[in-house]
Point group: C2
Chain length 154, copies 2
DNA sequence: GTACGATCTAGAGTGCACTCGAAGTCAAGG
DNA sequence: CCTTGACTTCGAGTGCACTCTAGATCGTAC
């Protein structure tokens, strides 16, 4: 079951930063903010030696961040994992809460897209009605605008 | 065609803030940042007197902001509207660029949701396998965790 | 041994989008 | 007239999430 060649692999902070797509500054800052589920071991010289699974952990953090989770949520989740087994229901609750936030965000964005799409379609049709190619490079010398067609508020 | 009762309606900054769901501070700040398509008129006493269509304008700005458009984009759009007719193709280009950004955001969020959903389903199944109701209030006294089932990285 | 790049710590600085405070003005009610 | 509350300007402060600086140390290659 164990694959020592892979799992024994460690990363320097520079390597991990490159692989995870974050800066070394960010990795140190994440650590100082308690976003790792266990202490990052050091070499005798004091350098960070990340375990191979740090990359997967950072990938998860990355997804949470991308989807708007504040650092406090990542910290809470890391604290639960750090605390060890027995709190899986808490972890699940945290993840599900974020899922709901994610659903809400997606809905919001879809609603925004509809509004903005409506607006741009109005401009597009107005331009076509005036005999202008709506996808031509901008800056034509037409005198009269299409504001009345699109909306009073621009 | 004109409906003077409605279109002649003006709003004080407090009214408009309430209706648009932003703070009066924000309205003044938006104005100072050039986010209105024309100068906001003042009463003889120096107070702002927003035209009735300001509400629709703010609704559009709100949708753009909600969907991640930075203030600079709103400023550019306001500047185009302020410049008057003849630049509709530019306005359309701006809106369509934002639409593309919106599409990308939605895709990203959907990808995030899948990852996080996968994670929470794993916890859920692990809890069920251990005979625990995954939706019960958290904090049960189970000794052994499900980490091995979910993933090494938490 | 020395040069060099990567890493270390602690703490300051950045950018965004507000958000608030201070000190004063305006307008309607009593 | 006086109070009250909404309004004015200007500038400073806030919160978030990094991002960077300075000055020292580590470790490998020559």
């Amino acid at each position: 079951m164990d694959e020592p060649i892979d799992t024994a692999r460690t990363y320097s902070i520079g390597e991990l930063a490159r692989l995870a797509g974050v800066s070394v500054h960010t990795l140190r800052w994440y650590e100082s903010e308690g976003l790792f589920p266990r202490d990052v071991p050091r070499t005798p010289g004091g350098r960070r030696e990340y375990a191979h699974d740090s990359l997967a952990w950072l990938a998860l953090l990355g997804r949470l961040r991308e989807s708007g989770a504040p650092i406090a949520v990542l910290r809470d989740y890391a604290a639960l994992v750090r605390a060890g087994s027995g709190n899986e229901a808490d972890r699940l609750a945290l993840l599900r809460a974020h899922e709901r936030s994610l659903d809400a965000q997606i809905e919001t964005l879809i609603a925004c897209r509809e509004v903005i799409r409506g607006k741009s379609l109005a401009y597009q049709e107005a331009l076509v009605a005036r005999g202008i190619d709506p996808f031509a490079a901008a800056g034509s010398a037409v005198d009269e605008g299409v504001d009345g067609v699109v909306a009073a508020a621009g």
